[in-house]
Protein backbone atom coordinates (compact mmCIF):
# COMPACT_ATOMS: atom_id res chain seq x y z
CA UNK A 1 0.00 0.00 0.00
CA UNK A 2 1.62 3.18 -1.20
CA UNK A 3 -1.38 5.48 -0.76
CA UNK A 4 -3.74 6.80 -3.36
CA UNK A 5 -2.44 8.75 -6.32
CA UNK A 6 -2.37 12.48 -5.68
CA UNK A 7 -2.00 15.32 -8.13
CA UNK A 8 1.15 17.38 -8.47
CA UNK A 9 0.31 20.39 -6.30
CA UNK A 10 3.45 22.22 -7.42
CA UNK A 11 2.60 22.46 -11.11
CA UNK A 12 2.28 26.21 -11.68
CA UNK A 13 -0.46 25.83 -14.27
CA UNK A 14 -2.73 23.72 -12.07
CA UNK A 15 -1.88 24.72 -8.49
CA UNK A 16 -4.60 27.39 -8.28
CA UNK A 17 -7.21 24.74 -9.12
CA UNK A 18 -6.10 22.60 -6.18
CA UNK A 19 -5.70 25.58 -3.87
CA UNK A 20 -9.30 26.57 -4.63
CA UNK A 21 -10.45 22.99 -4.04
CA UNK A 22 -8.80 23.11 -0.62
CA UNK A 23 -11.05 26.14 0.07
CA UNK A 24 -13.98 24.06 -1.26
CA UNK A 25 -14.31 26.16 -4.37
CA UNK A 26 -14.41 24.92 -7.95
CA UNK A 27 -12.57 27.28 -10.30
CA UNK A 28 -11.57 26.79 -13.91
CA UNK A 29 -9.39 28.89 -16.18
CA UNK A 30 -11.11 31.29 -18.56
CA UNK A 31 -9.34 32.80 -21.55
CA UNK A 32 -9.25 36.60 -21.42
CA UNK A 33 -9.01 36.72 -25.22
CA UNK A 34 -11.73 34.38 -26.47
CA UNK A 35 -13.70 33.66 -23.30
CA UNK A 36 -13.31 29.89 -23.43
CA UNK A 37 -13.65 28.12 -20.08
CA UNK A 38 -11.61 24.93 -20.21
CA UNK A 39 -10.39 21.88 -18.34
CA UNK A 40 -7.86 20.61 -17.36
CA UNK A 41 -6.05 23.84 -16.48
CA UNK A 42 -2.98 24.66 -18.56
CA UNK A 43 -0.88 27.72 -19.24
CA UNK A 44 -2.53 28.58 -22.56
CA UNK A 45 -6.05 28.52 -23.91
CA UNK A 46 -6.49 25.43 -26.11
CA UNK A 47 -8.97 27.37 -28.22
CA UNK A 48 -6.95 30.40 -29.32
CA UNK A 49 -3.55 29.81 -27.62
CA UNK A 50 -4.05 33.00 -25.67
CA UNK A 51 -1.84 33.22 -22.61
CA UNK A 52 -3.89 35.66 -20.52
CA UNK A 53 -6.16 33.62 -18.26
CA UNK A 54 -8.37 34.26 -15.26
CA UNK A 55 -9.67 31.82 -12.69
CA UNK A 56 -13.45 31.74 -12.85
CA UNK A 57 -15.65 30.28 -10.10
CA UNK A 58 -17.99 27.59 -11.42
CA UNK A 59 -21.63 27.20 -10.39
CA UNK A 60 -20.79 23.67 -9.29
CA UNK A 61 -23.83 22.30 -11.10
CA UNK A 62 -23.69 19.88 -13.94
CA UNK A 63 -25.01 16.74 -15.59
CA UNK A 64 -23.81 13.16 -15.35
CA UNK A 65 -22.33 12.51 -18.81
CA UNK A 66 -21.32 8.92 -18.16
CA UNK A 67 -20.11 6.71 -15.33
CA UNK A 68 -18.80 3.28 -14.44
CA UNK A 69 -18.93 1.34 -11.20
CA UNK A 70 -15.50 -0.18 -10.61
CA UNK A 71 -15.83 -3.57 -8.91
CA UNK A 72 -12.23 -4.74 -8.60
CA UNK A 73 -9.13 -3.06 -7.21
CA UNK A 74 -6.80 -2.74 -10.20
CA UNK A 75 -3.08 -3.57 -9.96
CA UNK A 76 -2.76 -3.74 -6.15
CA UNK A 77 -4.71 -3.15 -2.93
CA UNK A 78 -4.68 0.67 -3.12
CA UNK A 79 -8.41 0.80 -3.86
CA UNK A 80 -9.39 -2.47 -2.14
CA UNK A 81 -11.37 -0.75 0.59
CA UNK A 82 -13.15 1.52 -1.89
CA UNK A 83 -14.63 -1.02 -4.34
CA UNK A 84 -17.19 -0.80 -5.62
CA UNK A 85 -16.74 2.88 -6.39
CA UNK A 86 -18.07 5.14 -9.11
CA UNK A 87 -15.94 6.97 -11.65
CA UNK A 88 -17.97 9.54 -13.55
CA UNK A 89 -17.60 12.17 -16.22
CA UNK A 90 -19.58 15.29 -15.36
CA UNK A 91 -20.46 18.02 -17.83
CA UNK A 92 -20.48 21.30 -15.98
CA UNK A 93 -23.21 23.79 -16.83
CA UNK A 94 -20.40 26.09 -18.00
CA UNK A 95 -19.45 23.49 -20.64
CA UNK A 96 -16.26 21.66 -19.71
CA UNK A 97 -16.31 17.99 -18.80
CA UNK A 98 -14.25 16.58 -15.96
CA UNK A 99 -13.78 13.19 -14.41
CA UNK A 100 -14.66 12.77 -10.74
CA UNK A 101 -16.19 10.54 -8.13
CA UNK A 102 -19.85 10.40 -7.18
CA UNK A 103 -20.42 10.38 -3.42
CA UNK A 104 -23.04 8.12 -1.88
CA UNK A 105 -24.40 6.98 -5.25
CA UNK A 106 -27.70 5.11 -5.36
CA UNK A 107 -26.73 2.52 -7.95
CA UNK A 108 -30.35 1.44 -8.43
CA UNK A 109 -31.20 4.83 -9.86
CA UNK A 110 -27.93 6.44 -10.99
CA UNK A 111 -28.36 7.36 -14.65
CA UNK A 112 -26.72 9.39 -17.36
CA UNK A 113 -28.43 12.75 -17.43
CA UNK A 114 -28.79 13.00 -13.65
CA UNK A 115 -28.25 16.47 -12.31
CA UNK A 116 -25.25 16.72 -9.99
CA UNK A 117 -23.59 19.34 -7.80
CA UNK A 118 -20.04 19.67 -6.61
CA UNK A 119 -18.92 18.83 -3.12
CA UNK A 120 -15.43 18.32 -1.78
CA UNK A 121 -13.53 15.39 -0.37
CA UNK A 122 -10.61 16.17 1.91
CA UNK A 123 -8.23 13.26 1.46
CA UNK A 124 -5.87 12.10 4.21
CA UNK A 125 -2.98 12.33 1.77
CA UNK A 126 -3.27 16.10 1.92
CA UNK A 127 -5.32 17.01 -1.09
CA UNK A 128 -8.93 18.05 -1.58
CA UNK A 129 -10.76 16.59 -4.57
CA UNK A 130 -13.86 18.07 -6.17
CA UNK A 131 -16.47 15.29 -6.29
CA UNK A 132 -20.16 15.31 -7.11
CA UNK A 133 -23.45 14.22 -5.58
CA UNK A 134 -26.72 13.62 -7.35
CA UNK A 135 -29.36 16.24 -6.64
CA UNK A 136 -33.02 15.26 -6.58
Amino acid sequence: MTGKPRPDLNDAATAPYWEAAARHELVLPRCNSCGLVFFPPRERCPGCWGGELSWQPMSGSGTLWTFTEVHVPFYDDTWAEDVPYVVAVVELDEGPRLLAGIVEPDMASLAIGDRVEVTFEDRPEGVTLPVFRVVE
Binding site: P5, T68, F74, D82, L98, R123
Partner: protein
Protein backbone atom coordinates in the same frame (compact mmCIF):
# COMPACT_ATOMS: atom_id res chain seq x y z
CA UNK B 1 1.34 8.31 -55.28
CA UNK B 2 2.49 7.76 -51.71
CA UNK B 3 5.61 6.27 -50.21
CA UNK B 4 3.30 3.64 -48.76
CA UNK B 5 2.64 2.33 -52.29
CA UNK B 6 6.21 1.10 -52.45
CA UNK B 7 6.35 -1.25 -49.46
CA UNK B 8 5.51 -4.87 -48.82
CA UNK B 9 5.06 -6.76 -45.57
CA UNK B 10 6.89 -9.97 -46.36
CA UNK B 11 7.16 -11.86 -43.09
CA UNK B 12 5.22 -12.09 -39.85
CA UNK B 13 5.74 -14.14 -36.69
CA UNK B 14 4.53 -14.41 -33.11
CA UNK B 15 5.86 -16.18 -30.05
CA UNK B 16 3.82 -18.55 -27.89
CA UNK B 17 1.18 -16.51 -26.05
CA UNK B 18 0.08 -16.77 -22.44
CA UNK B 19 1.96 -17.04 -19.19
CA UNK B 20 5.65 -17.27 -20.07
CA UNK B 21 7.51 -17.08 -16.75
CA UNK B 22 10.93 -15.51 -16.79
CA UNK B 23 10.51 -13.87 -20.18
CA UNK B 24 11.37 -10.19 -20.54
CA UNK B 25 9.50 -8.11 -23.09
CA UNK B 26 12.70 -7.63 -25.08
CA UNK B 27 13.33 -11.39 -25.26
CA UNK B 28 9.80 -11.95 -26.60
CA UNK B 29 10.25 -9.24 -29.20
CA UNK B 30 13.61 -10.64 -30.25
CA UNK B 31 12.24 -14.15 -30.58
CA UNK B 32 9.38 -12.91 -32.76
CA UNK B 33 11.80 -10.78 -34.75
CA UNK B 34 14.15 -13.62 -35.59
CA UNK B 35 11.17 -15.76 -36.63
CA UNK B 36 9.70 -12.99 -38.79
CA UNK B 37 12.98 -12.55 -40.68
CA UNK B 38 13.10 -16.31 -41.32
CA UNK B 39 9.44 -16.29 -42.41
CA UNK B 40 10.34 -13.70 -45.02
CA UNK B 41 13.08 -15.93 -46.39
CA UNK B 42 15.67 -13.44 -45.21
CA UNK B 43 18.64 -13.51 -42.84
CA UNK B 44 20.09 -11.23 -40.17
CA UNK B 45 22.38 -9.52 -42.67
CA UNK B 46 19.42 -8.36 -44.73
CA UNK B 47 17.98 -6.20 -41.92
CA UNK B 48 19.13 -2.58 -42.02
CA UNK B 49 16.35 -0.83 -40.10
CA UNK B 50 14.67 -1.41 -36.74
CA UNK B 51 11.26 -0.01 -35.81
CA UNK B 52 9.66 -0.93 -32.52
CA UNK B 53 7.79 -0.02 -29.37
CA UNK B 54 8.55 -1.24 -25.87
CA UNK B 55 4.94 -1.63 -24.88
CA UNK B 56 3.92 -0.53 -21.44
CA UNK B 57 4.79 -3.51 -19.23
CA UNK B 58 8.49 -2.67 -19.50
CA UNK B 59 8.34 0.84 -20.91
CA UNK B 60 11.78 1.95 -22.03
CA UNK B 61 13.58 4.90 -23.59
CA UNK B 62 15.18 4.40 -27.01
CA UNK B 63 13.56 1.02 -27.28
CA UNK B 64 14.42 0.40 -30.93
CA UNK B 65 18.10 0.89 -30.11
CA UNK B 66 17.71 -1.80 -27.47
CA UNK B 67 16.15 -4.19 -29.97
CA UNK B 68 19.00 -3.49 -32.38
CA UNK B 69 21.61 -4.04 -29.66
CA UNK B 70 19.90 -7.22 -28.49
CA UNK B 71 19.93 -8.66 -32.00
CA UNK B 72 23.43 -7.42 -32.84
CA UNK B 73 22.25 -4.99 -35.50
CA UNK B 74 23.71 -1.57 -36.32
CA UNK B 75 21.07 -0.01 -38.57
CA UNK B 76 21.01 3.58 -39.80
CA UNK B 77 17.60 4.07 -38.18
CA UNK B 78 16.26 2.62 -34.93
CA UNK B 79 12.87 4.32 -34.48
CA UNK B 80 10.12 4.05 -31.87
CA UNK B 81 6.50 4.84 -32.61
CA UNK B 82 3.90 5.17 -29.84
CA UNK B 83 0.59 6.19 -31.34
CA UNK B 84 -1.45 3.86 -29.18
CA UNK B 85 -3.12 0.64 -30.23
CA UNK B 86 -2.83 -0.29 -33.90
CA UNK B 87 -1.62 3.21 -34.75
CA UNK B 88 1.76 2.30 -33.32
CA UNK B 89 2.28 -0.43 -35.90
CA UNK B 90 0.64 1.47 -38.72
CA UNK B 91 2.80 4.53 -38.10
CA UNK B 92 5.84 2.24 -38.14
CA UNK B 93 4.85 1.20 -41.66
CA UNK B 94 4.70 4.88 -42.62
CA UNK B 95 8.14 5.47 -41.14
CA UNK B 96 9.61 2.43 -42.88
CA UNK B 97 8.09 3.55 -46.17
CA UNK B 98 9.62 7.00 -45.78
CA UNK B 99 12.97 5.51 -44.79
CA UNK B 100 13.02 3.22 -47.83
CA UNK B 101 12.00 6.12 -50.07
CA UNK B 102 14.80 8.24 -48.58
CA UNK B 103 17.37 5.54 -49.17
CA UNK B 104 17.98 5.12 -45.43
CA UNK B 105 16.81 1.52 -45.22
CA UNK B 106 16.01 -1.36 -47.56
CA UNK B 107 14.52 -3.97 -45.24
CA UNK B 108 13.14 -3.24 -41.78
CA UNK B 109 12.38 -5.39 -38.79
CA UNK B 110 9.43 -4.16 -36.68
CA UNK B 111 9.03 -5.72 -33.22
CA UNK B 112 6.38 -5.47 -30.51
CA UNK B 113 5.36 -7.37 -27.42
CA UNK B 114 4.97 -7.27 -23.68
CA UNK B 115 5.24 -9.47 -20.61
CA UNK B 116 2.18 -8.14 -18.82
CA UNK B 117 1.75 -11.31 -16.75
CA UNK B 118 5.32 -12.07 -15.87
CA UNK B 119 6.35 -8.51 -15.07
CA UNK B 120 3.85 -8.43 -12.22
CA UNK B 121 5.23 -11.65 -10.78
CA UNK B 122 8.70 -10.18 -10.92
CA UNK B 123 7.62 -7.25 -8.72
CA UNK B 124 9.10 -4.82 -11.24
CA UNK B 125 5.86 -3.70 -12.83
CA UNK B 126 5.17 -0.04 -13.26
CA UNK B 127 3.15 1.89 -10.72
CA UNK B 128 -0.53 2.01 -11.67
CA UNK B 129 -1.75 4.95 -13.64
CA UNK B 130 1.70 6.39 -14.25
CA UNK B 131 1.57 6.30 -18.04
CA UNK B 132 -2.01 7.24 -18.75
CA UNK B 133 -1.70 11.01 -18.74
CA UNK B 134 -4.41 11.20 -16.09
CA UNK B 135 -2.05 11.39 -13.12
CA UNK B 136 -3.37 14.72 -11.88
CA UNK B 137 -7.03 14.78 -12.80
CA UNK B 138 -8.15 11.15 -13.15
CA UNK B 139 -5.96 8.73 -11.17
CA UNK B 140 -6.78 10.36 -7.80
CA UNK B 141 -10.40 9.29 -8.42
CA UNK B 142 -9.44 5.68 -9.09
CA UNK B 143 -9.47 6.01 -12.89
CA UNK B 144 -6.22 4.07 -13.17
CA UNK B 145 -7.04 1.27 -15.60
CA UNK B 146 -7.77 1.47 -19.30
CA UNK B 147 -10.77 -0.81 -18.95
CA UNK B 148 -12.73 1.54 -16.70
CA UNK B 149 -12.10 4.27 -19.27
CA UNK B 150 -13.62 2.05 -21.94
CA UNK B 151 -16.50 1.29 -19.59
CA UNK B 152 -17.38 4.99 -19.52
CA UNK B 153 -17.97 4.92 -23.27
CA UNK B 154 -19.73 1.54 -23.29
CA UNK B 155 -22.14 2.93 -20.69
CA UNK B 156 -22.82 6.02 -22.77
CA UNK B 157 -23.36 3.93 -25.91
CA UNK B 158 -25.91 1.85 -24.02
CA UNK B 159 -27.64 5.04 -22.89
CA UNK B 160 -27.72 6.65 -26.34
CA UNK B 161 -28.35 3.58 -28.51
CA UNK B 162 -29.83 0.89 -26.29
CA UNK B 163 -26.84 -1.42 -26.66
CA UNK B 164 -27.08 -4.40 -24.30
CA UNK B 165 -24.66 -6.52 -22.32
CA UNK B 166 -25.83 -9.51 -24.35
CA UNK B 167 -24.80 -7.75 -27.55
CA UNK B 168 -21.34 -7.17 -26.10
CA UNK B 169 -21.35 -10.84 -25.14
CA UNK B 170 -21.86 -11.78 -28.79
CA UNK B 171 -18.50 -10.14 -29.51
CA UNK B 172 -16.81 -12.21 -26.79
CA UNK B 173 -18.36 -15.44 -28.05
CA UNK B 174 -17.33 -14.78 -31.67
CA UNK B 175 -13.78 -13.93 -30.64
CA UNK B 176 -13.47 -17.12 -28.64
CA UNK B 177 -14.84 -19.16 -31.53
CA UNK B 178 -12.12 -17.77 -33.78
CA UNK B 179 -9.48 -18.41 -31.11
CA UNK B 180 -10.63 -22.03 -30.94
CA UNK B 181 -9.47 -22.29 -34.57
CA UNK B 182 -6.07 -20.83 -33.74
CA UNK B 183 -3.44 -23.16 -32.28
CA UNK B 184 -1.48 -20.26 -30.80
CA UNK B 185 -4.33 -18.49 -29.01
CA UNK B 186 -4.04 -17.77 -25.29
CA UNK B 187 -7.66 -18.82 -24.55
CA UNK B 188 -9.16 -21.47 -26.83
CA UNK B 189 -11.98 -23.15 -24.90
CA UNK B 190 -15.30 -22.04 -26.41
CA UNK B 191 -17.63 -19.85 -24.34
CA UNK B 192 -21.35 -19.21 -24.50
CA UNK B 193 -23.42 -16.09 -23.98
CA UNK B 194 -24.42 -17.56 -20.61
CA UNK B 195 -20.74 -17.78 -19.66
CA UNK B 196 -20.39 -14.12 -20.55
CA UNK B 197 -23.43 -13.09 -18.54
CA UNK B 198 -22.20 -15.11 -15.54
CA UNK B 199 -18.71 -13.60 -15.58
CA UNK B 200 -18.14 -11.07 -12.79
CA UNK B 201 -18.56 -7.36 -13.30
CA UNK B 202 -15.19 -5.61 -13.58
CA UNK B 203 -16.18 -2.04 -14.38
CA UNK B 204 -19.84 -1.65 -15.27
CA UNK B 205 -21.12 -2.41 -17.82
CA UNK B 206 -18.03 -4.47 -18.69
CA UNK B 207 -17.74 -8.00 -17.31
CA UNK B 208 -14.60 -10.07 -17.17
CA UNK B 209 -15.37 -11.65 -20.54
CA UNK B 210 -15.76 -8.16 -22.03
CA UNK B 211 -12.12 -7.41 -21.20
CA UNK B 212 -9.10 -8.20 -23.33
CA UNK B 213 -6.53 -10.56 -21.92
CA UNK B 214 -3.18 -9.70 -20.45
CA UNK B 215 -0.57 -11.89 -22.09
CA UNK B 216 3.14 -12.46 -22.33
CA UNK B 217 3.80 -12.44 -26.06
CA UNK B 218 5.85 -10.97 -28.86
CA UNK B 219 5.02 -10.27 -32.48
CA UNK B 220 7.05 -8.95 -35.39
CA UNK B 221 6.90 -8.17 -39.08
CA UNK B 222 9.41 -7.47 -41.83
CA UNK B 223 8.92 -4.73 -44.42
CA UNK B 224 10.81 -4.18 -47.62
CA UNK B 225 10.25 -2.62 -51.04
CA UNK B 226 7.74 -4.11 -53.45
CA UNK B 227 10.64 -4.76 -55.86
CA UNK B 228 12.59 -6.68 -53.22
CA UNK B 229 9.47 -8.62 -52.21
CA UNK B 230 8.94 -9.70 -55.81
CA UNK B 231 12.52 -10.89 -56.08
CA UNK B 232 12.14 -12.88 -52.86
CA UNK B 233 9.20 -14.75 -54.35
CA UNK B 234 7.25 -14.76 -51.08
CA UNK B 235 3.56 -13.83 -50.72
CA UNK B 236 3.19 -10.37 -49.22
CA UNK B 237 0.73 -7.69 -48.20
CA UNK B 238 0.84 -4.14 -49.51
CA UNK B 239 -0.68 -0.92 -48.27
CA UNK B 240 -3.71 0.31 -50.22
CA UNK B 241 -4.73 3.13 -47.88
CA UNK B 242 -3.86 4.47 -44.45
CA UNK B 243 -5.83 6.95 -42.37
CA UNK B 244 -5.68 8.17 -38.80
CA UNK B 245 -7.17 10.66 -36.34
CA UNK B 246 -6.20 12.00 -32.90
CA UNK B 247 -8.79 13.82 -30.80
CA UNK B 248 -7.71 13.71 -27.14
CA UNK B 249 -5.63 11.93 -24.52
CA UNK B 250 -7.50 11.38 -21.25
CA UNK B 251 -11.08 10.02 -21.25
CA UNK B 252 -12.78 13.12 -19.81
CA UNK B 253 -11.53 15.19 -22.75
CA UNK B 254 -12.97 12.91 -25.41
CA UNK B 255 -15.58 14.24 -27.77
CA UNK B 256 -18.95 12.49 -27.72
CA UNK B 257 -19.27 9.05 -29.29
CA UNK B 258 -20.32 10.23 -32.75
CA UNK B 259 -17.35 12.62 -32.88
CA UNK B 260 -14.63 10.11 -32.00
CA UNK B 261 -11.91 9.63 -34.58
CA UNK B 262 -12.83 6.14 -35.76
CA UNK B 263 -15.10 7.01 -38.67
CA UNK B 264 -12.73 9.79 -39.73
CA UNK B 265 -9.69 7.51 -39.79
CA UNK B 266 -11.62 4.84 -41.67
CA UNK B 267 -13.00 7.28 -44.24
CA UNK B 268 -9.52 8.70 -44.85
CA UNK B 269 -8.05 5.23 -45.35
CA UNK B 270 -10.80 4.02 -47.68
CA UNK B 271 -10.68 7.22 -49.71
CA UNK B 272 -6.92 6.90 -50.17
CA UNK B 273 -7.38 3.25 -51.15
CA UNK B 274 -10.17 4.10 -53.58
CA UNK B 275 -12.23 1.40 -51.89
CA UNK B 276 -15.14 1.03 -49.48
CA UNK B 277 -15.73 -1.34 -46.60
CA UNK B 278 -17.79 -3.46 -49.00
CA UNK B 279 -14.49 -4.39 -50.66
CA UNK B 280 -13.06 -5.83 -47.41
CA UNK B 281 -12.88 -9.63 -47.14
CA UNK B 282 -12.15 -9.45 -43.40
CA UNK B 283 -11.46 -6.79 -40.80
CA UNK B 284 -9.36 -6.74 -37.65
CA UNK B 285 -10.49 -4.37 -34.90
CA UNK B 286 -8.29 -3.56 -31.89
CA UNK B 287 -10.44 -5.06 -29.15
CA UNK B 288 -9.34 -3.76 -25.77
CA UNK B 289 -12.89 -4.68 -24.80
CA UNK B 290 -15.96 -6.05 -26.54
CA UNK B 291 -17.36 -2.56 -26.91
CA UNK B 292 -14.35 -1.58 -29.03
CA UNK B 293 -15.62 -3.99 -31.68
CA UNK B 294 -19.12 -2.50 -31.52
CA UNK B 295 -17.62 0.96 -32.02
CA UNK B 296 -15.30 -0.42 -34.71
CA UNK B 297 -17.93 -1.97 -36.95
CA UNK B 298 -19.82 1.34 -36.78
CA UNK B 299 -16.69 3.36 -37.59
CA UNK B 300 -15.81 1.15 -40.55
CA UNK B 301 -19.33 1.48 -41.92
CA UNK B 302 -20.24 -2.19 -41.61
CA UNK B 303 -23.44 -0.95 -39.98
CA UNK B 304 -24.97 2.45 -39.33
CA UNK B 305 -23.93 4.56 -36.34
CA UNK B 306 -25.34 3.22 -33.09
CA UNK B 307 -26.24 -0.20 -34.50
CA UNK B 308 -23.00 -2.01 -33.67
CA UNK B 309 -24.69 -4.00 -30.91
CA UNK B 310 -27.41 -5.55 -33.08
CA UNK B 311 -24.79 -6.08 -35.81
CA UNK B 312 -22.64 -8.14 -33.44
CA UNK B 313 -25.68 -10.04 -32.21
CA UNK B 314 -26.66 -10.93 -35.79
CA UNK B 315 -23.69 -13.26 -36.18
CA UNK B 316 -21.97 -10.98 -38.68
CA UNK B 317 -18.61 -11.17 -36.88
CA UNK B 318 -17.93 -14.87 -37.37
CA UNK B 319 -15.94 -16.73 -40.00
CA UNK B 320 -18.27 -17.54 -42.88
CA UNK B 321 -20.04 -14.18 -42.78
CA UNK B 322 -19.56 -11.56 -45.47
CA UNK B 323 -16.88 -9.70 -43.50
CA UNK B 324 -15.63 -11.63 -40.46
CA UNK B 325 -13.98 -9.72 -37.62
CA UNK B 326 -10.83 -10.68 -35.69
CA UNK B 327 -10.29 -14.12 -37.15
CA UNK B 328 -7.25 -14.79 -34.95
CA UNK B 329 -9.39 -14.37 -31.81
CA UNK B 330 -8.48 -10.78 -31.03
CA UNK B 331 -7.12 -9.48 -27.78
CA UNK B 332 -10.22 -10.87 -26.12
CA UNK B 333 -9.07 -14.45 -26.72
CA UNK B 334 -5.91 -14.76 -28.83
CA UNK B 335 -3.80 -12.53 -26.63
CA UNK B 336 -2.97 -8.95 -25.74
CA UNK B 337 0.58 -7.70 -25.87
CA UNK B 338 0.07 -4.31 -27.46
CA UNK B 339 -2.18 -5.26 -30.32
CA UNK B 340 0.20 -6.15 -33.14
CA UNK B 341 -1.42 -9.51 -33.75
CA UNK B 342 -4.33 -7.99 -35.64
CA UNK B 343 -1.95 -6.66 -38.27
CA UNK B 344 -0.02 -9.94 -38.38
CA UNK B 345 -3.18 -11.96 -38.98
CA UNK B 346 -4.41 -9.49 -41.60
CA UNK B 347 -1.14 -10.12 -43.45
CA UNK B 348 -1.56 -13.89 -43.09
CA UNK B 349 -5.01 -13.66 -44.66
CA UNK B 350 -3.45 -11.90 -47.65
CA UNK B 351 -0.57 -14.36 -47.80
CA UNK B 352 -3.06 -17.23 -47.70
CA UNK B 353 -1.41 -18.75 -44.63
CA UNK B 354 -4.19 -18.39 -42.03
CA UNK B 355 -5.03 -22.11 -41.97
CA UNK B 356 -8.47 -23.10 -40.74
CA UNK B 357 -9.48 -19.46 -40.29
CA UNK B 358 -8.44 -18.45 -43.82
CA UNK B 359 -10.93 -16.42 -45.85
CA UNK B 360 -10.52 -18.05 -49.26
CA UNK B 361 -9.12 -15.70 -51.84
CA UNK B 362 -8.87 -12.71 -49.50
CA UNK B 363 -7.81 -9.66 -51.53
CA UNK B 364 -8.50 -6.74 -49.17
CA UNK B 365 -8.21 -6.87 -45.39
CA UNK B 366 -8.57 -3.91 -43.02
CA UNK B 367 -6.91 -3.36 -39.64
CA UNK B 368 -8.56 -0.67 -37.53
CA UNK B 369 -8.85 0.56 -34.00
CA UNK B 370 -7.89 2.94 -31.27
CA UNK B 371 -5.16 3.71 -28.82
CA UNK B 372 -5.64 5.20 -25.38
CA UNK B 373 -9.34 5.39 -24.58
CA UNK B 374 -10.59 6.13 -28.10
CA UNK B 375 -7.86 8.81 -28.14
CA UNK B 376 -6.20 7.98 -31.45
CA UNK B 377 -7.59 5.93 -34.31
CA UNK B 378 -5.83 4.23 -37.16
CA UNK B 379 -7.12 2.36 -40.19
CA UNK B 380 -4.89 0.39 -42.55
CA UNK B 381 -6.35 -1.05 -45.74
CA UNK B 382 -4.11 -3.86 -46.93
CA UNK B 383 -4.13 -5.72 -50.24
CA UNK B 384 -2.69 -8.95 -51.53
CA UNK B 385 0.58 -8.79 -53.36
CA UNK B 386 1.95 -9.12 -55.92
Amino acid sequence: MSVLDGIAIVGVAETPIGKLPGRSAISLQAEAGVAAVAAAGLAKGDIDGVFSFSGYSQAMMLHAARVAEHLGLRPELAVVTDVGGPGTHHAALLNVAAAIDAGMCTTALCTYGENGISIRRSGRGRAPGTLTGGEDFEAPYGQIAMISGYALFAQRHMHLHGTTSEQLGAVAVASRYHASLNDNAHKREPITLADHQASPMISSPLRRLDCSLISDAGGAFVVTSIERARSLGVPYARVLGYGAAATHHIPSQAPDLHELGGPVAAARAFERAGLTVADADAVYIHDACTFSVVAGVEALGLCVDGEGGPYAESGALALGSECPVNLHGGMLSHGHAGGVFHLLDAVRQLQGTAGSRQVEGAEVVVAHGNGGVFSTFSTMVLGRGP
